[in-house]
Amino acid sequence: MKRKIIEFILVFFCFIFQCTFFKTISLGGIVPNLMIVLTAAFGFMKGSSEGMFVGVIAGLFTDILYGNGIIGLFTLVYSCIGYGNGLFHRMIYKEDVKFPLMLVALSDFFYCFTNYVLFFLLRAKLDLFYYFLHIILPEMVYTVFITILFYRLILRLETALESDEPA
């Protein structure tokens, strides 16, 4: 329970950070996606259920405030990302930063690509290469960069939470 509350608070503040503060650090109009970092990180650190939990919170916030009246779409995308990362839970060493970075990059790509398909491709905006080069790739790079900065923090939090729990 304590873990869930802490995760909720973490996602909550990261979401607010993302929506307010991040526009001041945007590079060329591109902001990194902190929600993806959190969802993926908790997914592969703790397992699918935890990833999904974080994903659902992140998705719900996005849906309610920016979902254009449709609630559930981003929740679904984020929880899929959480679940997908959870599948690698048993395969990775959390302390080694390379594999997590790859997973975050892949998750961000998945998120962007779903966004592209749902909101652009379906409206006959077919120029995938352009969007890949100008939106998806910069966002991936920036998000990975942010992950490098934040990964140690999240890892420390996760270890603290884990040591707190009964085995």
């Binding site: 909550f12 503040f13 979401f15 607010i16 950070f17 993302q18 929506c19 307010t20 503060f21 991040f22 526009k23 001041t24 060329g28 109009g29 591109i30 902001v31 996606n33 902190l34 929600m35 397992g47 699918s48 259920s49 999904m52 659902v56 719900l60 916030f61 996005t62 309610i64 405030l65 920016y66 979902g67 254009n68 009246g69 449709i70 609630i71 559930g72 779409l73 929740t75 679904l76 929880s79 899929c80 679940y83 959870g86 962007c112 966004n115 592209y116 909101f119 652009f120 409206r123 905006k125 120029d127 352009y130 969007y131 100008h134 939106i135 910069p138 966002e139």
Partner: protein, 306 residues
């Protein structure tokens, strides 16, 4: 001890089933929110008491942070901006006098045509921008006024210089606004000088160069030129008529040789919007006031893009 362990094992549901449940719930929610407003009202209520206060605070914090970082630079830019603004004031004063003249003429012509007054002073309310959507795909932002201040969905959002967007979602003390440069935004507009209608649609590709695309401009006389002003049209469903959008940057004939398309530069600086005005009037409410003959004309034109 053993019993407790057993119990715990029983509760664990495989995560793929949880995902399935979440997926089903999400799909159900999507359908529900798409067709009704039953769920979104309480959820947005929750958002307005939880997320919003923080968002407001953090936004101020972020502003202060960036301000401090750019303080010196800002002073310098403010000085030059002040110069520019002074020039602008002169220009606008000149323009204003011209407009007053036009307005006089217009009201005379309106009387002549028997049209009711449409471009009156709208009832507006000022609002601060407190947040931007979290991704890079859209151009949606939050403002700190909501249903409590009389806002409703589909209200027009403007700044002093022109049209910003449309209110898409309303909570008690917040509202989300989709700006006209958003890729999914379509505005029915017209060229002010010739009254030719066109569709102004936002384009993510053009966002970096601060332009919006327009299309479906029917200009048989070849009268529309670069630099012409574009305003919202009379036949739009949601946008009130006569709001300034921007100026034409380029016009090209479409491959079909019938319509033209091109780009325009919006009057609003979308990168630096801090305060906006929301017009507390709906086009739908307006339409009822307009005489029956006109509204039937609206229907005939079949304007279903907003």
């Amino acid at each position: 001890m053993a019993r407790v362990k057993l119990k715990r094992k029983k509760i664990v549901i495989p995560s793929r089933y949880i995902l399935l449940i979440i997926a089903l719930l999400c799909v159900a929610m999507m359908l529900l929110t798409f067709f009704t407003d039953a769920v979104s009202a309480p959820l947005s209520g929750i958002a307005s008491i939880t997320v919003l206060p923080f968002e407001r605070g953090f936004d101020r914090l972020g502003e202060r942070f960036s301000e401090r970082m750019e303080e010196l630079q800002k002073v310098r830019s403010l000085l030059s901006e002040n110069e520019a603004l002074k020039e602008r004031v002169d220009e606008l004063t000149r323009q204003n006098s011209a407009l007053t003249r036009d307005r006089y003429e217009l009201s005379e012509l309106r009387e002549f045509y028997g049209l009711s007054e449409q471009l009156e002073n709208y009832d507006t309310v000022g609002a601060r921008v407190i947040g931007k959507d979290p991704g890079n795909w859209f151009n949606v932002f939050l403002i700190d006024k909501g249903a409590d201040d009389g806002l409703a969905r589909d209200m027009n959002v403007i700044t002093g210089s022109g049209l910003v967007g449309l209110v898409t979602e309303v909570g008690a003390n917040w509202a989300s606004v989709r700006s006209i440069i958003d890729d999914s935004s379509n505005v029915s507009a017209m060229v002010l000088s010739t009254s030719d209608t066109l569709i102004v649609s936002g384009d993510l590709k053009k966002m970096a160069s601060n332009e919006i695309t327009f299309e479906h401009l029917l200009d048989e006389e070849d009268a529309v030129a670069v630099g012409d002003q574009i305003v919202t049209s009379m036949i739009s469903d949601k946008y009130l008529p006569g709001i300034n959008i921007g100026f034409i940057n380029s016009v090209d004939m479409d491959p079909n040789n019938l319509t033209k398309s091109g780009t325009l530069t919006p009057s609003v600086d979308f990168k630096h919007i801090n305060v906006v005005l929301v017009i507390r009037e709906l086009k739908a409410g307006k339409a009822r006031e307009i005489t029956a003959g006109e509204s039937s004309e609206n229907n005939r034109r079949g304007e279903n893009r907003n």
